[in-house]
């Protein structure tokens, strides 16, 4: 963890913000203020923050229905994000996209996606766009270990490598695709081996170590910007909550979850900051207080925002 203290502190605070956002949403979901399905990323904050902090604001990104962390890490307006969760017209997608479709081109966010793997070719397209414009941007696509079995994923990897696209493929390997464990869907020893079939550079990192993810993505971005093509990064992590709220979690043991709780990426960074950088409890408390205030403000903003008018069913569709 050789990164500058300031960077580590802001990464810590952003991870805490994501955690607080998700915990607030769990609450709001149980209270039926959030409709539809909600897939929390609690436990996976390090991949989101490590990846996005390694990129420039204008770089492109696609992610999945579990992408709130990545979107917040990339800089989405938290008030608009919360309003979207609550289906309000002030939401990032005016209440039309909901939890699974946050999109904000102003921060390069080309959409979460509710279809497994669909964001991979879309990011490849954005990478091609950047390559054609020679503007030095890269595209990051974040997906789960379930996505690697989809056709669109393989088609995109093949073209990305053929055309040396500035694309970073970040697999958040949390070892489950909904209720299916990785070993039941993947015959290879590790997910990153999938990239070998495309002669693509591949690395495996500890996805709960924000610095490891940061370093891997930074290097991938450097290579991509230098015309060296895509990198596949397997970040091993774990979702501490169920696939979605209401998941019985019968497919995994309490011990397994407890073990991963020990490796909680936020706790881990906190321990490092305290030991190596001498960050005090008071400083942590201040950060958490700021974050809690931000989320409380976001919930207030969302609740006080109006719902879309019925006529808005016809807008934002055809141009």
């Amino acid at each position: 963890m050789a990164l500058p203290k300031d960077l580590l502190l802001s990464m810590y605070e952003r991870m805490a913000l994501i955690r607080a956002f998700e915990e607030a949403c769990v609450q709001l979901y149980m209270e039926k203020e959030i409709r539809g399905s909600f897939h929390p990323c609690v436990g996976q904050e390090a991949t989101a923050v490590g990846a996005c902090f390694a990129l420039n604001p204008e770089d492109y990104m696609t992610c999945t229905y579990r992408g709130h962390g990545a979107c917040i890490a990339k800089g989405i307006d938290v008030n608009a994000a919360m309003a979207e969760m609550l289906g309000r017209r002030t939401g990032v997608s005016k209440g039309k996209g909901g939890s699974m479709h946050w999109t904000d081109p102003s921060i390069g966010l080309l959409g979460e996606n509710a279809i497994v793997a669909a964001g991979v070719p879309i990011a490849a397209g954005a990478a091609l766009s950047a390559q054609l414009d020679r503007n030095g941007r890269v595209a990051l696509t974040i997906f789960g270990d379930g996505a690697i079995n989809q056709g669109a994923f393989h088609e995109a990897l093949n073209m990305a490598q053929l055309w040396k696209l500035p694309l970073i493929l970040l697999c958040e390997n949390n070892f489950y695709a909904e209720m299916t464990p990785l070993a039941k869907s993947n015959p290879l020893a590790q997910v990153a081996d999938r990239a070998k079939g495309y002669n693509m550079r591949a690395v495996v990192v500890d996805g709960n170590d924000v610095c490891a993810v940061y370093d891997a993505v930074r290097e991938a971005a450097r290579l991509a910007r230098a015309g060296q093509g895509p990198t596949f990064i397997e970040a091993r992590t774990y979702r501490l909550l169920g696939h979605m709220i209401g998941d019985s979690e019968s497919y995994r043991t309490k011990e397994e979850v407890a073990q991963w709780r020990e490796r909680d990426p936020i706790k881990r960074l906190r321990a490092h900051l305290a030991q190596a950088e001498g960050v005090t409890d008071a400083e942590f408390d201040a950060m958490h207080a700021r974050v809690q205030q931000q989320i409380a403000d976001a919930v207030k903003f969302a609740r006080e925002s109006p719902y879309p008018d019925p006529e808005e069913a016809y807008t934002d569709f055809w141009i």
């Binding site: 039309k96 959409g111 088609e155 093949n158």
Partner: protein, 326 residues
């Protein structure tokens, strides 16, 4: 006016628009060096280079998905589906991604993409290479759907499609590529969603589009010559937006409506037109609306069978005679 083939007209539209707009990028299987299996993109690689005329691996889901990413980031991709039937392997990229991005983002992104594909039977290509999917695109909101029948329309409509800010499904017909027709000189476009009266008449209205339009015109000729029946023939040209007004205007004159299309009858565009006409102009009808459409069976290869499954001009004429008696 000069005569061009449908293929030449399409190529002219692509060439002129690519000259005008450097963001237009063609992509698809064998569209570059080979010039496309239907030769539409012949010569474009030499003219515009491999960055803009891009041969892809056989990856419809992948390259149409990439088209969505390109379109969201300022490009105007024109992916080509070699055969319309392959839309099904790219169904997610087409219907869940391209069609919905704008709405799901609350209007924050647009997807100006033109998917070109040819469809239709008549060549003995069999059930996996002869289908017509305009109804699928019409059913799921998100695409404008264009089906030109003549070279002049092909050029003018493609130019409009390439300038549209929405995703457009541009549907050609494999048996139209070699047809010839007058094409105006110089710059012109045809607005999307405006039907065209291709033949004036007073006894009944026949609505069609794509290759079936030519059959409808042939049937109208026969009806006039052999039965003294005057059919007005309307070319719908687009199923989204759908120009019902032009049809209703014609019905105020003829009061009888026959709809014909090559795609399957069930839940087809004909059913949609009929219902919309009933909703808006039921009083104009002197007889039940008639539909002549593809049979609800997979398209067979043998000519004797294909000719039964896909409606021919005589089937339209027979339908019209029945309608006139009714």
């Amino acid at each position: 006016m000069r005569e061009l083939t449908y293929t030449q007209a399409l190529r002219e539209a692509l060439t002129e628009e690519m000259e005008r707009d450097p963001n237009i990028i063609l992509m698809g299987e064998d569209i570059g060096a080979y010039g496309g299996v239907f030769r539409v993109t012949e010569g474009l690689l030499a003219r515009f280079g491999p960055e803009r005329v891009r041969d892809t691996p056989i990856s419809e889901a992948g390259f149409i998905g990439m088209g969505v990413g390109l379109a969201m980031t300022g490009k105007r991709p024109v992916p080509e589906l070699m055969f319309m039937d392959f839309a099904l392997v790219a169904a997610d990229s087409i219907w869940n991604q391209a069609a919905k991005m704008r709405a799901m983002s609350g209007g924050r992104v647009k997807v100006p993409m033109v998917i070109r594909a040819q469809q239709g039977g008549g060549r003995g290509n069999g059930a996996q290479h002869s289908q017509s999917f305009e109804a699928l695109f019409t059913h799921i909101p998100g695409f404008k759907v264009v089906l030109p029948a003549t070279p002049a329309d092909a050029k003018g409509l493609l130019k409009s499609a390439l300038r549209d800010e929405n995703p457009v499904m541009f549907i050609e017909h494999k048996l139209l590529y070699n047809t010839k027709g007058p094409v105006p000189d110089g710059e012109y476009t045809i607005p999307l969603g405006v039907a065209d009266v291709k033949r004036e008449g007073s006894d009944l209205t026949i609505v069609s589009y794509s290759r079936q339009l030519l059959f409808a015109l042939e049937a109208a000729e026969t009806l006039q010559k052999e039965h003294g029946i005057s059919a007005e023939v309307i070319d719908l040209r687009c199923t989204v937006p759908m120009d019902i007004e032009t049809i209703v205007k014609s019905l105020r004159k003829t009061h009888r409506l026959l709809i014909t299309h090559e795609s399957h009858a069930s839940c087809g565009v004909g059913a949609e037109i009929a219902m919309r006409v009933m909703e808006t102009a039921f009083d104009e009808l002197d007889a039940p609306i008639m539909r002549v459409a593809g049979l609800d069976v997979p398209i067979p290869v043998a000519k004797t069978l294909e000719d039964v499954v896909l409606p021919q001009p005589d089937a339209i004429a027979r339908g019209a005679l029945k309608l006139m008696k009714g």
